[in-house]
Symmetry: C2
Subunit: 227 residues, 2 copies
């Protein structure tokens, strides 16, 4: 528990309902909470058989995605520092009937409140249950946004938006991202991404080299993605 | 309130946490609840400016859909008797950041718990807040299912599944549904639906006539939709 204690002081900033818990509830969380460092590329939750618990992201980045039978992926949303991951505790609600994979995209530090601990507190505490509601509603909003993108936006605009988002997250215009990774985020095939990136290159928006996509025309990408 | 009183006795069946409310909470709901008959084709909720309240469906059928700027629609899910519509009370949660339209597909009877009444009870009652969580989680599951359909299933399979669902809901193989309506459910264009239905007709799966689609080859439709 040494690691936990070191980080515990700033935990309450990451869990806003902390102030509204009873002393007994706070004790139940702090005695059971786990702090963990997870390296990039680790699957922390894989479908409804897993039920680790509520994750609070201290640093790093994760993505939540679904997987087709044929192995195709599509990213539903990403999680950043201060975000809370609810669906890694999917067993706390009967009505969560879908299979999600959650994977670290960067080296990540997180707190875990074990599922059974969180569930027992949520059942007795209206503030915690309402807070859980708000977390789910914000994931719901992201997923509806995704449906709108898939339904009404063509793939060129979605790829442009993805490249700009990556550049902003990584603070660089030299993206270390493969065509396969982009396809997996957007739920399409690598070949389709490659074809589109070559078109972007011919328009001066990007420069392609092995393992790197350099954004050379951000204004053009921005106006394309905003169309 | 005459109409309300007549129907009030069986209300608690439709609202399973009723038994776990305090007498004061029950009184607050029964004094403020509204019973309403709404005819087919009525928009009962239109985006985040509306905040009618929690709807409980006594009879009839509704659909929840999103709308593109260009006026295209896609159905997110449907509501049937005993279902509860949460997003018609979208103002009860800050994090609900999307615009949904909810419309009756049949003549519908429903109870309405006004949004501010529901919100005040949800804030003080853990059972009600957790029940709200379960409702949202089941809508979330339906929406993830929809994303899977859109991403991994071709349109022929989605149209076949839609026709079979309609036949099952209406208890008839003679569907009174226009090509435009199918397009609006599935988020595509009328022309695309017409082309696919003509192909289905050439394969003996349906028979098309003005205003009617007759299902003549349900086994073929079933095996197509299950592929």
């Amino acid at each position: 528990m040494g690691v936990l204690k070191n980080h515990f002081t700033d935990f309450s900033k990451y869990f806003p309902v902390w102030e509204r818990l009873t002393p007994a509830q706070r004790a139940r969380i702090s005695e059971n909470m786990i702090f963990r460092s997870v390296s990039k590329g680790t699957v922390v939750h894989n479908g409804s058989m897993d039920c680790l618990g509520l994750l609070m992201v201290r640093s790093g980045q994760l993505r939540a995605y679904i997987l087709s039978e044929g192995g195709r992926e599509v990213t539903l949303y990403r999680l950043f520092p201060m975000d809370i991951c609810l669906f890694s505790a999917s067993c706390i609600m009967h009505s969560i009937q879908f299979e999600l994979v959650i994977e670290t995209e960067k080296d990540t530090e997180l707190w875990i409140i074990p599922a059974e601990v969180y569930k027992s507190i949520m059942e007795e505490s209206a503030p915690v249950a309402n807070y859980t509601n708000e977390i789910m509603a914000s994931r719901f909003s992201e997923v509806i946004w995704l449906i709108e993108q898939i339904m009404w936006k063509s793939l060129d605009k979605r790829i442009a938006a993805f490249l700009l988002e990556e550049a902003s997250l990584e603070h660089t215009n030299q993206l270390k991202v493969t065509h396969e990774m982009i396809a997996n985020h957007l739920g399409t095939h690598r070949e389709v991404v490659t074809r589109m990136l070559r078109y972007f290159q011919s328009e001066g928006m990007v420069k392609l080299s092995r393992g790197t996509i350099e954004l050379t025309g951000k204004e053009k990408l921005e106006s394309l993605s905003a169309e």
